[in-house]
């Protein structure tokens, strides 16, 4: 299973998307909902998602259990490789699913596009805050309205190969990390002390940017790319150039770690089961502290979020399914099966869950993280940040110049969103 944020930028095959957009726009009717006190548990609920592999198996089992409990309900799971373009085309045309499963960075965007609807008449704020962890509550709240229910959370962390590095040797600060990368490569030619997707990915550089005191964008649309902290982070990232592969993209970093040619990698919970399968004896620990600020590196905490489509016919049933899906027992099951980190407080407190090493380790990293922004302004940032990082990494521009240009481009994009 790939990280959702990455997938957003990678898997786009939609040549016909423009055509379907235009066609979709002529459909035009919007579903209306009738507020109902009791839940009518009959009919079909369609869920569009990006789940794969064992993630999908577990979730399918959970939905099957719901259907067994309420035989009148059919839950249809539809895998969409290009979920964003698909819902953007389908929902305004009065079609598409009842439930959209993605990550919280879409919440603001989808709300502004009027593709998802607020659930305040179905879900109370008290229920939300008493059931789910704080970052999860923040993630599904936009403009003071509830736009979905949280599933599990994820953040990138430091993963190491136990055969290549002792736990006691793991660098604790950013200065040590760079020194380690250099000395490791001297003693192991052709191998790497650490690798990550440093080439041009905004999501993977967030731990440094936020740790150095910079930021991408605030909820009011303020862009932070020319902040000193952001620039310092980019300079730090670029200082790894001499000890990294030529083009350190996600696939390259991932493959090097699987092949045992990299002692450490920065990656998320979705990656570890593959590392196990590749025969890597891995451990997970938190990212180092930033030497100059004394703050921990702060990755984005993404919250997988289930949103209800503006066209959903039976909203109470959709919400009921989501409440079931994110209840204590089912989140425990997801943690046990796939090492996912629960957002449900009761599941987090469960001793069985606490005993899972991967969940404990990624959970510690989540505590240092910053919420993945759910503001629609983040949409305007991915592209300029990615281009700026690439320009700085490849040396086409200095880090300062690259981020100044990215700031200008991002501000322009933010203005054009409105």
């Amino acid at each position: 299973m790939f990280d959702a944020v990455r997938k957003r930028t990678v898997g786009v095959l939609a040549l016909g998307a423009a055509v379907s957009m235009a066609l979709a726009a002529c459909g035009g009717t919007t579903g209306t909902t009738q507020p109902s006190a009791s839940i009518n548990r009959t009919g079909t609920i369609t869920i569009w998602h990006g789940w794969e592999g064992s993630y999908l198996d577990t979730k399918k089992a959970i939905f099957d259990a719901y259907m067994a409990k309420y035989p009148g309900v059919t839950i249809q799971l539809v895998h969409k490789p290009t979920l964003d373009t698909a819902v953007t085309a389908a929902v305004p045309a009065g079609q598409g699913p009842d439930i959209i499963a993605w990550v919280d960075d879409w919440v603001g965007k989808m709300a502004k596009l009027e593709i998802i609807k607020p659930l305040d008449d179905q879900v109370s704020k008290d229920f939300l805050t008493s059931t789910y962890s704080k970052p999860a509550v923040e993630a599904v709240t936009f403009d003071n309205k509830i736009y979905g229910l949280p599933e599990t959370v994820e953040a990138i962390s430091l993963i190491y190969n136990k055969k290549l590095i002792q736990q006691s040797d793991i660098p604790k600060t950013t200065t040590d990390l760079l020194t380690f990368a250099k000395t490791y490569q001297q003693s192991h030619p052709g191998q790497y002390g650490i690798v990550w997707n440093a080439f041009n990915d905004a999501y993977f550089q967030a731990p440094w940017v936020y740790g150095f005191g910079g930021f991408y964008v605030k909820a009011d649309g303020t862009v932070g790319l020319k902040e000193q902290g952001t620039k310092d982070a980019v300079k730090y990232i670029d200082s790894f150039k001499s000890v990294f592969p030529g083009k350190p993209d996600y696939g390259t970093a991932d493959q090097l770690f699987k092949d045992g040619k990299a002692a450490m990698i920065i990656n998320g919970p979705w990656s570890v089961s593959d590392y196990g399968k590749a025969g890597v004896d891995y451990g997970i620990t938190t990212l180092p502290t930033i030497s100059s600020t004394g703050k921990p590196a702060s990755p984005f905490v993404g919250v997988k979020t289930m949103m209800v489509s503006a066209n959903a016919k039976n909203v109470p049933l959709a919400v009921d399914i989501l409440k079931w899906f994110s209840n204590k027992d089912n989140q425990i099951k997801e943690a046990l099966d796939n090492k996912e980190i629960p957002s449900n407080l009761a599941a987090l407190a469960d001793p069985q869950v606490k005993a899972i090493p991967q969940v404990a380790a990624f959970g510690a990293q989540v505590a240092n993280g910053v919420p993945l922004p759910n503001t629609p302004y983040m949409t305007a940032l991915w592209d300029p940040v990615s281009k700026g990082l690439e320009a700085a990494w490849t040396g086409k521009e200095s880090a300062d110049q690259a981020m100044d240009d990215a700031q200008t481009a991002a501000e322009k994009n933010v203005a054009q969103l409105k």
Binding site: L13, A22, Q255, P376
Partner: protein, 303 residues
């Protein structure tokens, strides 16, 4: 002779007319309408008419993107089409040569790149070009040692060339098929007569074969140029429009459709990109009309 009433003719035409209106005409008209609105992320389902503001943004000197992207696309077409012609011609001549054996086998295997869905081919080439594990750099390392490697996708010029290579690979078979058909229609007597008159192989090709192929070459080249101008799959899947040298400039392989796709579906600038599409349509329409007229002139001259 039975006269068919106009109403009957219209009834027979109706299904096709309805189809064309719905599938082709309506989206065009709708696109023109969207280009006059402020449709964007914050005004997606409720948008307003704003006149020609999007066109003003497009042409304003501040937005250098438009002209850079356009120039890159024309350059891409200008390099690709001659390569398509060259490789299409070489393979067609080789397959058509009387000494070539297993013609059917060669015909089929040479057309494979064209028959495979383009996104699969794009991913295969993306792997070939990978700098760490890719086939091409592995070959380079065998010859030049373990530290060698070419920046297939990370250097702007190389990346442009890489897309040209991948695109040529998947497009030349179309020309091969066209040329093969045309070659087989050339009477052997003409070539024999030329040979008897003392023309060597090169002269026979240049003076007899090529002029007779011209009616086939021109329409194929025009059609292919329009398709190449609008390339999306190949470029987007291999480079996403990159490499990028600054956040303020379009990427090295950001051709018109890739630019439109990024702007429309990553930044949700629907109104702006609809205006962009209208201008592209006008441009391609003009180029097509010009080339059709040019083709006709050439054909008349040939007669």
């Amino acid at each position: 002779m039975n006269r068919v009433p106009a109403r009957t003719i219209l009834a027979y035409f109706a299904p096709m007319l309805v189809g064309i209106t719905l599938i082709s005409l309506f989206p065009i008209v709708y696109n023109v309408y969207v280009s006059l609105t402020n449709r964007s992320l914050f005004h997606f389902r409720h948008f307003q008419f704003i006149g020609l503001a999007n066109y003003a943004t497009l042409f304003s000197s501040l937005n250098g993107d438009f002209f850079i992207v356009l120039f890159k696309s024309f350059l891409f077409v200008g390099i690709c089409i001659p390569l398509f012609l060259l490789f299409g011609m070489l393979t067609a001549l080789a397959v058509n040569h009387p000494l070539t054996r297993w013609k059917a086998f060669w015909r089929v295997s040479l057309i494979v790149p064209w028959a495979v869905p383009s996104y699969i081919t794009a991913f295969i080439w993306k792997f070939f070009f990978n700098e760490q594990f890719g086939t091409l750099n592995q070959l380079v390392r065998v010859v030049f040692g373990p530290k060698a490697g070419l920046p297939w996708l990370s250097d702007p010029t190389w990346a442009f060339g890489s897309i040209v290579i991948a695109n040529t690979w998947m497009s030349y078979p179309f020309f091969m098929v066209v040329f093969l058909g045309a070659l087989q229609s050339i009477p052997l007597e003409l070539l024999e007569a030329a040979a008897i008159d003392g023309a060597n192989a090169w002269q026979r090709f240049w003076r007899v074969t090529l002029p007779l192929l011209r009616p086939a070459i021109l329409p194929a080249a025009v059609l292919s140029a329009i398709l190449t101008f609008q390339v999306l799959n190949t470029g987007y899947l291999i480079t996403q429009g990159g490499p990028f040298t600054s956040a303020l400039k379009p990427g090295a392989t950001e051709f018109v459709m890739i630019y439109a796709f990024r702007q429309a579906f990553q930044l949700f600038r629907f109104g702006y990109i609809a205006a962009f599409a209208v201008v592209m349509f006008a441009l391609l329409f003009a180029v097509t009309m010009f080339s059709l007229r040019f083709t006709r002139l050439v054909e008349e001259e040939a007669r």
